[in-house]
């Protein structure tokens, strides 16, 4: 049959190119034949159309032809495959229960620790960021150098903030806080001691985002004698009554009217005041040269702190110059020429908690160093846990090699096997995550106690935490499973099924490296813990220069007024009380002491004054605290002239450069007024004692003889402390309606090192955990080795090897990475701990035996871990293992 019409050529060509090669010949033939038929029956146009449609439908991607094609595996991540992976993973876990438990527990402990550290670090980093203007609020601090001494204090001068706001563009607002110490607060015949009272400028609640529950933030603190109290305080004093309009008596400051109630100050802020009085209720000394209160500056958006700060010297010159002239008798230029400096710096409010450690901080701050330390520890612990996982999986690879071989022969492709192993790892990780959440819930109360924070479960569930944790776990699972996945799936089925395991030696090398890393971390942390404890022990037991045990401190004795002496005399009569002193300052505590300017009486009125610590004591002070005199005599009632006498410590003698200190004279330079400019004579020198923490060297100290009854210290001599306290309290109650408050000197002293103590405790817990996790891994590995070498051990035993030699053989392999770990970890730990110790003015040198002990400890623990398995293997009956061959 011949026809004039031809089918469209492009369709034919399409079919030739994209049709299935196996059937192209007959298909093309058939189509041509049909085309002729179509042309005759339905016409050329329709025939063309049918021809084109047919060719298109027959093109390979569209046609369902499966001639000679191989079986195409389903997509590796299809739901069916995922379900299959999980099913197989679960069966495998159940098959090796011991390993599953080791893996899950190890990872869970690691994850739980990590979660706790994340909570801690997150909280530390969040300080002061709750403020809507956090990035624009700065604290104005004094920074200067007077008399050769650097001064950096968190306070600033009373007029400085307002002057800055008045004179320079870019300052949006200034607000100030003034802490006046502790108040006895009365309401309706009830009185409590409130330690967190501050006076604030009226715009305080506009600047800090502490919501006002009652009252208007624009007007609350505008009038004198008004206060804003927190919710908690409002409930404490007024119960269910409306607090607005109620009154509180703040110590000697008189009656205050409540104008507002604010929410409790967030825990993550650098101050925690409960009561805010209006600034107009108090008298401020408008001097530049003394530090008065805390000043916060809000910059306008777009203004940099540096630009504002550059203006500060100009401002100081303009305002403070006259004061310096009056105070020191020299003008600003001379002042600076003599190497002095006085100025202000703007410190971002978000830097305060982690980066600031100045004089007169409102609260002791944390240190960013601890954030780093803890983050590193978290990473380490997680690393150790992941290493366990990888190690156990690679060790188990021998057992699973056959499985891999069979699966490959049955047509699995490597991609699917990788999917299989990764999903196993992820499954284990998520099981561990669930366990770890349980652990976190269980230990959260103890962790709160330990860290001094208040976390609850909401901290774990809010915001990005949960998705973050889930993603983190997925990544950990993928990471931990990556090595076994790629290592195992690469097995060649032929050699595996023939019994030749490729890469065995290589994986052993890798395993050893990983174990070495684990033990490096563990040993490093053991060393760290020991050094921290050594140092803590050192500073807590170093001779502080006085006797800090058996000293009872009574607080708020100033509220007794002129009855204090009678009270003191009454206590002195008690048999259990050896001595009593009234003083403005006691070591390691809240003080009523301060710093004063002193000028040696050397005839040079132009010399820059020294700024030294000073406080008032009575004649019983030295004997009550057990402070020794080095030269001269103590204060005494027998010398009326002692009102102009002073005691100094040895550091002060050195500072003033005296050869014969007793009889030397000092001018005081107070605020420049005539009455503050007096001449004092040194009557005695006390031996240096640590009145501050051992982070600092002992500073020069000047003690005046005088009536400061801020607090009272009792040297007691009794075992019945509760009984004594009861008696003292009764005496107190008879004299005062102020709540009875006391503390013990040694406890207060220990509290200075609370942050170190906390770090030490946390550190030791983490170190312990790291060791446990590492050993868990080692235990699993030993179990595996013992299993793998059952036959070898059987043969050895049959040939006459002793149990001891077999145990030694098995343990030997594990000792090498541990020993290597010790070698590497020791210098690293030494370096790191030395850096930490630099923070202490008085510190230990790291003793050599710390390294030996840590080494022995880790070797011992590792041996103990391994020996259980090796002894079990060595004791096993060789017949059992050899019978199968």
């Amino acid at each position: 049959m011949k026809t004039a019409t031809k089918p469209p050529r492009f369709a034919t060509r399409l079919l030739k190119t994209f049709g299935h090669p196996d059937t192209s010949e007959e298909v093309q033939g058939d189509l041509l034949e049909l085309y002729d038929h179509w042309v005759q029956t339905i016409g050329a146009r329709k025939a063309n159309w049918r021809y084109i449609v047919s060719t298109l439908k027959l093109m390979r991607p569209l046609a369902q032809s499966r001639y000679n094609e191989q079986y195409r595996p389903p997509f590796s991540l299809s739901p069916v495959m995922l379900r299959n992976y999980l099913k197989i993973a679960w069966r495998n876990l159940m098959l090796h229960k011991a390993f599953a438990v080791i893996n899950v527990v190890g990872l869970a402990v690691g994850l739980a620790t990590c979660l706790l550290i994340v909570l801690y670090v997150k909280h530390e980093l969040s300080y002061d960021r709750y403020n809507a203007k956090a990035d624009r609020i700065y604290r104005m601090i004094i920074h200067g150098k007077i008399g050769g001494k650097e001064i950096s204090t968190a306070m600033s001068s009373v007029p400085a903030g307002p002057a800055l706001a008045h004179d320079y563009a870019g300052v949006e607002a200034v607000t100030r806080l003034n802490q006046e110490g502790t108040f006895i607060v009365k309401h309706d015949h009830e009185s409590f001691k409130e330690e967190h009272v501050a006076f604030a400028d009226s715009n305080f609640f506009d600047i800090f985002s502490i919501p006002l529950l009652k009252g208007n933030s624009k007007t609350v603190l505008t009038d004198p004698n008004t206060v804003v109290v927190t919710e908690t305080i409002a409930r404490k004093y007024f119960g269910t009554q409306d607090p607005i309009g109620q009154t509180l008596t703040l110590g000697s400051r008189g009656l205050f009217r409540v104008t507002g109630v604010c929410a409790d100050v967030p825990s993550n802020t650098h101050f925690h005041y409960d009561i805010f009085g209006s600034m107009r209720s108090i008298q401020l000394r408008e001097t530049w040269f003394t530090s008065g209160l805390v000043t916060y500056v809000v910059l306008q958006p777009g203004y940099s702190a540096d630009a504002i700060q550059a203006k500060i010297p100009e401002m100081v010159k303009k305002y403070a110059g006259a004061e310096i002239q009056q105070l020191l008798g020299m003008n600003m230029t001379e002042f600076i020429q003599k190497g002095n400096a006085f100025g202000f710096q703007l410190q971002p409010i978000t830097d305060i908690h982690l980066h600031s450690n100045l004089e007169a901080e409102i609260e002791p701050n944390s240190d960013v160093k601890y954030i780093y330390i803890f983050s590193v520890i978290a990473v380490f612990i997680l690393l150790v846990a992941c290493i366990n996982f990888m190690n156990l999986s690679t060790a188990g690879s021998a057992g699973r090699a056959k499985e891999v071989g069979i699966r490959k022969v049955l047509g699995s492709i490597q991609r699917q096997l990788i999917g299989q192993f990764l999903s196993e790892a992820v499954l284990v990780t998520f099981m561990a995550l669930i366990v770890s959440l349980g652990i976190v819930v269980a230990v959260l109360p103890s962790f709160n106690l330990l860290s001094g924070k208040q976390f609850d479960l909401s901290a774990l569930t809010n915001g990005w935490m949960l998705p973050g944790i889930a993603i983190g776990c997925l990544l950990i699972g993928l990471l931990a499973g990556s090595y076994p996945a790629f290592f195992l799936s690469a097995f060649k089925p032929v050699s595996v099924l023939k019994g030749r395991l490729q890469g065995g030696a290589k994986s052993g090398w890798l395993r050893n490296t990983l174990v070495t890393i684990q033990f490096m971390v563990s040993i490093g942390m053991i060393i760290g813990t020991m050094v921290v404890y050594q140092q803590l022990h050192f500073i807590q037991h170093k001779k502080v220069g006085f006797d800090k045990d058996q000293v009872l401190i009574l607080h708020d004795t100033y509220t007794l007024g002129n009855k204090a002496d009678a009270f003191k005399a009454e206590l002195r009569k008690l048999a259990q009380v050896q001595n009593v002193t009234l003083a403005g300052y006691l070591p390691a505590g809240v003080s009523n002491g301060g710093t004063d300017g002193f000028q040696p009486d050397n005839g040079d009125p132009q010399s820059t004054p020294y700024r030294e610590k000073s406080y008032y004591i009575d004649e019983n002070y030295l004997s009550t605290l057990g402070i020794k005199l080095a030269q001269g005599r103590n204060f005494s009632k027998a010398f009326p002239s002692d009102s102009v006498a002073i005691l100094v410590n040895e550091a002060a003698v050195k500072r003033f450069g005296w050869k014969n200190p007793v009889g030397q004279r000092l001018w005081t330079v107070g605020n420049g007024s005539p009455e503050s400019h007096r001449l004092y004579t040194v009557v005695g020198v006390v031996k240096d004692f640590h009145f501050e923490s051992m982070h600092q060297h002992i500073a020069p100290l000047v003690m005046f003889y005088g009536k400061d009854n801020y607090q009272m210290a009792l040297r007691i001599h009794t075992d019945d402390i509760p009984g004594l306290l009861k008696t003292v309290e009764k005496t107190w109650k008879a004299q005062s309606d102020t709540p009875f408050a006391y503390s013990f000197l040694n406890e207060r002293f220990n509290r200075i090192y609370q942050s170190e103590q906390r770090v030490g405790e946390l550190f030791s817990i983490f170190a312990g955990l790291t060791v446990i996790i590492s050993c868990l891994g080692l235990f699993g590995l030993a179990m595996f080795t013992a299993q793998q070498r059952t036959k070898e051990i059987g043969v050895r035993k049959v040939l006459g090897a002793s149990v001891t030699s077999v145990v030694a053989l098995l343990s030997k392999d594990f000792m090498k990475p541990v020993l290597l770990g010790i070698l590497i970890a020791s210098p690293v730990a030494w370096y790191a701990m030395n850096r930490w110790l630099q923070d202490f003015a008085y510190r230990i040198t790291i003793p050599w035996w710390v390294f030996v002990l840590a080494g022995l400890l880790s070797v011992g623990i590792a041996l103990l871990t391994v020996s259980f398995q090796s002894i079990k293997a060595a004791l096993a009956n060789p017949i059992k293992s050899l019978r199968s061959e």
Binding site: T23, E25, G29, L32, E33, A63, Y67
Partner: protein, 112 residues
């Protein structure tokens, strides 16, 4: 053994191949179905069905000699295999059994 499973169109194609006996190839099968059933079937459908039946083992194929009218291209002839015959028989049997099971009054209603 698993029962033979045939789709409706597969059954039609398989039967057509059986009817055409030695002369069954793509074109004849397509035309035969069109004639006998009066339904327009696309060649591509027939082609893929033939292939599927072969995969299932109900058909076997061989290449015939070249013919000039097709531009020298050979034809692929299909024949029903034993398994194919068995499958057809089974299908027929199942149908008959079902028909026989029909109650007479239903049969009448259906006009049978």
């Amino acid at each position: 053994m698993k029962r033979a499973f045939l789709g409706e169109f597969e059954e039609v194609v398989l039967l057509t191949v059986a009817i055409l006996d030695e002369e069954a190839y793509g074109v004849t099968v397509t035309q035969e179905i069109e004639q006998k059933t009066g339904r327009a079937v696309g060649f591509s459908t027939v082609h893929t069905t033939l292939q599927r039946l072969e995969e299932k083992g109900y058909l076997s194929s061989r290449m015939g000699g070249a013919t000039a009218e097709r531009g020298g291209r050979r034809k692929r002839f299909f024949t029903v295999t034993a398994a194919g015959r068995k499958a057809l028989a089974e299908v027929k049997q199942v149908r008959e059994e079902l028909w026989n099971a029909l109650p007479p009054q239903t049969l009448q209603l259906m006009g049978g």
